[in-house]
């Protein structure tokens, strides 16, 4: 049994390290994606690569970060002053724009170096090369999506590894911005290491290591007890993505959840095989979605760590949508399929504990990338954003309108910030009235966002729930699906959920995002 007072105190101390790293990263970063939209996560790990404490940033990074650290541990040997970088989705990453930077925390004990653990942070970069500006392309294999970085050292012995740095910068569209963001990621780890070393010096390194272990045990115990409050049984559900942008037909995710005492088995057997388009989720994405769902449903009010996942057993067959094999394209797996995995898991659990589960939220992030050559300053630009939609209604509440749900919570870019920086204009940004599913409690409304292009540009859309609808619960109606429309020389035309387009000055793109599902028959 762990010390219930000391563990509680160390819980606060360790999560405050992760939070301080986050504050540093956000303040120092370059791109709006990290600074304004907070699309990043910071965490502390023990010497075996177990996640000990993570600041509450982005759910999609929840379960996936430890796998990046473990991939680095497997392929590299660390010395003081080293920093590893990785984005390979098949080695602990999620999709290529998410770059993770991992630093070992070495301390001196009795004049010998002692590996106390790691700090790491992951940030979504606005571009990592590949076939489309913004690196969220309509791809059919991962090589089109950008530069793949296996675990390599960005810093060695406290010195910048210039070869790696130059190779990186030569492969991206906006190297100054990448360089600034990476510097900020290094600065975040730097402060994390210093904090952990300070704590080690104060409390003793061995006992700090023991504290980290106690925190993992505590989290495991708490998760188990809360699972124990759910009714035993086996529950099933399925839902689908519209398509993958290339081959026709829905992509179905099937799951069964078995609750047995303080343990859960989540089995994705029966889920469709991986597809040519990029809707394939690598295992870390699936793991994050599972971690997110149980965190919400159990009301787990402790910092996320690896202990929380120990009572949960996941079966995800290889080569499927939820555990893709190389070289499947994965860009949308992280942002779109992750949302559908959540929908499926919640739909399953709604049978076990209906009072805790809302109807489906918009179930997409509406990823939009706009790239091109800015004639105003003669520089290339790559802009990426995601758009909120309706949230599902609950047993006692209406769904919120115009919000990001589940696996993301990134901020929008202010219209006034965006128009300074990029050659297009926002003509409308409003709620899409009536799009939420009807019911005793209404689903939240989606959003309408209209872009007016002032110069030619290349657009990539990765969006879903344009055909399938966010489900209602208890007889509530589903939310309206989303719709993407292009206006060119006066003619209006609906375009698919996943597509790339070339636009001219004067063209307009209208994105209408899905509404949330309703709850109970009206």
């Amino acid at each position: 049994m762990t010390d219930p007072i000391r563990t509680e105190i160390m819980k606060h101390r360790l999560v405050s390290v992760a939070e301080e790293m986050g504050a540093r990263l956000q303040r120092a970063a370059f791109s709006p994606n990290i600074k304004e939209r907070c699309d990043f996560s910071c965490a502390v790990f023990d010497a075996s690569g177990n996640l000990v404490a993570q600041a509450a940033h982005i759910p999609v990074h929840l379960g996936a970060m430890p796998l990046s650290v473990q991939a680095c541990l497997e392929s590299l040997s660390f010395a003081p002053g080293d920093v590893a970088i990785v984005n390979d989705p098949y080695r602990g990453g999620t999709h290529l724009p998410d770059i993770t930077v991992v630093s070992p925390i070495f301390v001196e004990e009795e004049s010998k170096p002692f590996l106390l653990g790691f700090v790491a942070n992951r940030a979504h970069h606005a571009d990592i090369g590949g076939m489309s500006a913004g690196s969220m392309p309509l791809s059919q294999e991962i090589f089109q999506e950008g530069l793949i970085i296996p675990p390599v050292k960005l810093m060695a012995g406290g010195k910048k590894n210039d070869d790696v740095w130059r190779l990186l910068m030569a492969n991206v569209r906006t190297p100054e911005e990448r360089s600034g963001d990476l510097q900020a990621q290094l600065a975040a780890n730097h402060i994390g290491i210093a904090r952990m070393q300070g704590m080690g010096a104060r409390f003793g390194f061995q006992s700090l290591a023991a504290d980290m272990d106690a925190l993992l045990q505590y989290s495991e115990r708490m998760t188990g007890r809360l699972i124990g409050q759910l009714p035993n049984g086996c529950y099933r559900f399925e839902d689908a993505l519209d398509n993958d942008g290339f081959s026709p037909g829905p992509a179905v995710i099937r799951v069964s959840i078995t609750i047995e005492g303080e343990h859960v088995t989540v089995d994705f057997s029966g889920t469709d095989r991986q597809r040519p388009g990029s809707i394939n989720a690598v295992y870390p994405v699936t793991l994050s979605a599972v971690a997110y769902v149980f965190r919400c449903v159990l009301g787990l009010d402790i910092p996320a760590n690896s202990g929380c996942l120990r009572p949960i057993h996941i079966i995800a067959p290889e080569g499927t949508l939820v555990n893709a094999s190389r070289p499947a394209a994965v860009a949308a797996g992280n942002v779109e399929t992750s949302q559908r995995i959540v929908d499926v898991l919640l739909g399953t659990l709604a049978q076990a504990c209906p009072n805790r589960i809302p109807a489906a939220s918009q179930g997409t992030m509406n990823n939009l990338t706009i790239g091109g050559w800015d004639q105003r300053n003669g520089r290339p630009f790559a802009y990426y954003e995601t758009i909120g939609g309706g949230m599902g209604a609950g047993p006692h509440t209406d769904g919120a309108s115009g919000r990001h749900s589940h696996m993301t919570n990134t901020l929008n870019t202010p219209v006034e910030a965006l128009e300074y920086a990029y050659p297009f204009r926002i003509a409308q940004y409003a709620l899409r009235e009536g799009s939420g599913g009807k019911g005793q409690h209404q689903g939240g409304d989606g959003l309408i966002r209209t872009y007016q292009f002032l110069q030619p540009a290349e657009i990539v859309l990765l969006s879903d729930r344009r055909i399938t609808k966010p489900y209602g619960l208890g007889g509530g109606e589903p939310g309206d699906p989303g719709r993407n429309t292009i206006k060119q020389s006066g003619a209006e035309k609906e375009v698919p959920g996943k597509c790339s387009l070339a636009v001219k000055a004067g063209d307009e793109l209208i994105i209408e995002t899905p509404g949330g599902g309703g709850y109970k028959k009206f």
Partner: protein, 677 residues
Amino acid sequence: MAIPDNHQHGSWIGIDIGGTFTDFVVYASHSQSLQRFKILSTPSNPAEAVLEGLLQLPHQVSRHIVHGSTVATNAILERKGARTALITTKGFRDVLLIGRQDRPELYDLFPSIPPPLVPCEWTFEITERLDYEGNIVTPLNEIELDAIIEELKAQKIQSVAVSFLFSFVNPAHERWVTNRLRAEGFFVTASSEILPEFREYERTSTTVVNAYVSPVLDAYLGQLEREMASTEFHILQSNGGRLSVTQARGHGVRSILSGPAGGVVGARYLAGLAGFNRILTFDMGGTSTDVSLVHGDIHVTSEAEVGGCPIRVPVVDIHTVGSGGGSLATVDAGGNLRVGPQSAGANPGPVSYGRGGCIPTVTDAHVVLGRLPTDGFLGGKMALDRDAANRALDELSDHISLPTASGLESRHCLALGMIQIANAHMERALRVISVERGEDPREAVLVSFGGAGGLHACDLARSLAIPHVFIPPMAATLSALGMLAADVQLDYVHTVMLPNDTPFEMLEQQTKAMVKQSEEDLHREGVSPEQAVIIRTVDVRYIGQAFDLNVPLMPQFREEFDRVHQERYGYCQEDAPIEIVNVRVRAIGRVTPPSILKVPLGAADATAARGEERPVVVSQGIQGVPHYWGDRLRPGHEISGPAILVLDDTTVYIGPADHARIDSYLNILIQVGASND
């Protein structure tokens, strides 16, 4: 005309309206004397308590009142402001509803999002559009305003917010609409007047907040003025500066959160007198703890939020955590001991208050440890029930497996643990306000002035390696004193978004209008030019960055920006192009604060203040610890820990390794030992 000076004009009265008490600090300039007292607050109409308190004072020819008011803040929290409408650019009527499209809690499947201050049916769009350079893309459709005005009248709208895209670059459209509405008799807030700064959601929210609270504040001030003729009223603003009522009434947003700001101003003043200019303020109350940073100047932020509404005016940077004397101790599903954020509040309060509370609180832990004397609470006015506290902790310790320590009972171990956990919460808050702002807490003094703070301050300072704790003698009314020490202070901002090669002279040119405005406003406050200080700064960032750093406007501002960036974030890019986002002007009229009597230091021997020894749990054992009575402490007295200091408004625990000294202003200055033992 000279600056209104505490020394020259009759009596000065600082009033802080709190939830329970309204505090008064009265400074009579002729006798240089300070008087303080409390009146029970009257939340339904705060003016009643103010007027009642003023009646207790001798009538004087000349009275000046500076007060912090919760009127504006409460109007937002309770959604009881004016009937307010909003007019936006066509296509953007939902700007308040959408906000930044994020949800407040990541892991809450049923987020509750506070409704906007203006309901949908009172939000109107008008056809007009500017681009980012202020060029007209779509001309203003003036006709549309007629129908809107009709509807505003039909709906009996009192106050209108006008916020158009890019109005900070070119305010022409906003100005036209504003003038029309004012001519129709509406109270109007234009975004380009209140906050000419980019980011439409935050600017609109600030504009709406001002529109929503100003009429309420105006009515409140009107009542005070009617009933107290020949009294001059000033308001403490959220930036920690004071402002006359005449200028304050149209700018209600500036007085939001002014109450806590008063405490910081007071702490800065008293610590400054004693020679400390880097301080961390620590205000621990019953349900929450406020912390802030002063490094010469009070740290302000433009990122405040009240009741779900962002406000982008400068606000004293106060960080609050839900940890206080009333925080409840419980055991969670994983078996950990939790303290807070649930609180016993004022009612029923801690178990030892004997008002029906049964879950142990942090205050009860101190009672159990003997650190909070049962007979000295609130100056002895309220007896505490130690037996009840003991029983509550015994009950809880049956549900938790505690490590044992020799010589201590399990309730003592539990009590020590509760305090450590509460400290861990507050330590985190102090780190946010210092380390995350690039300040080293080890170079600061911890100034404790909350009722519950004295029992935690030394341990907390020890955890953060802060060498000294400072406890002012007027802790409970520090905020009201702060009102009297506040300078006149006005802040102005304008987004310019200028490129890398902008010459310094051009930036100077950009500040001209604001400087002129600030000089006029200072003049209206009675500040003479020689007493005015005008500070010009610029917000700069590397192109591509989304946040900026504020640096003084000087010829080498670029180098200064690189330097500050390096200092704050650990790197800079001297070759990267920058952009100048905002120019800012701060205008200050220095006020001579009330003088505080300085007493020569006497002997170090504090025997005269020493009461009996009582058993107290000191980290790992129980021992007899002397109690000292605050009213008998004299300048020069020195006390080595362990000791308990019983003051009127707080109790101070001095650990075995700590050493306290009373300075010539009756402040308690504690040198904090490195270890607990």
